[in-house]
Symmetry: C2
Subunit: 147 residues, 2 copies
């Protein structure tokens, strides 16, 4: 992942400050699994920084999303979930179990997917004059345990 220096510069360049709460939230993303909800992030941050409030977590998640550092998704479980938008998770490919809510990330077949989405993005951009920045593919069904 990117170093702290890179982040600091990005914040500074856009007129924001890389404060302690914001660093703490970024650390959570670097140290934990993906698909974290605001509440989960709040609790994880709370371990080391009990003073950080939930509103700040929401505000920071919003900011990081706008900056393109994290990606916000909705898997239908009643709250938004966030994950790092770095290279490794660029495509946001998920299998979502509609019974238990489990989310599986797959990172196989990415080459094939990249090829397909690149082509489609080019065609859609032209036809609809739409500037595509990212995409998301969700497969819904039943996981092994729920069948």
């Amino acid at each position: 992942m990117h170093g702290a220096g890179w982040c600091y510069r990005r914040f500074k360049d856009e007129g924001f400050r890389l404060t302690i709460p914001r660093q703490a939230i970024l650390d959570v993303f670097n140290q934990n699994s993906k698909h974290l909800s605001a509440e989960e992030i709040f609790l994880l941050v709370h371990r080391n920084y009990p003073g950080v409030g939930l509103a700040t977590v929401y505000r920071t998640l919003d900011l990081l999303t706008q900056m393109g550092i994290i990606f916000k998704s909705d898997f239908g479980d009643g709250c938004s979930r966030y994950e790092l938008a770095d290279e490794a998770t660029k495509g946001h490919h998920h299998l979502i179990c509609t019974r238990c809510g489990r989310i599986i990330d797959y990172s196989d077949f990415i080459e094939k997917e990249e090829k397909f989405t690149k082509e489609l993005e080019t065609e859609l951009s032209q036809k609809y004059k739409f500037k595509i920045n990212s995409h998301q593919i969700h497969f819904y069904g039943l996981c092994d345990k729920c069948q």
Copy 2:
């Protein structure tokens, strides 16, 4: 689209009743554009059936979703949106403008997409023992007016 008789039978077979409020809600889907929110559906139903309550709309949308008649999506604008899950909209392909929230349905390149998703579904099903029922592809970016 399917006739009323088909719907009636489906409801009956599964132990549900095709009541006036439910018919009114189905009519809304057959007569209006897609991506309707619960609130929008409530208002449209309200024109002809002022007695139908919002809770019933939510309950019916839930039922129709479970029955697979409509499809529930989240486009990140704070509420769930619903559309008919008939053949024409099977794939749920959307371009979502992250600035103005506009949603564009595309129905081009569906053949290519079908081929891709079929292949991927087969491979993912095998690898993750996941029974895939549906999928959703969202492209996020800026529409022509927002660039």
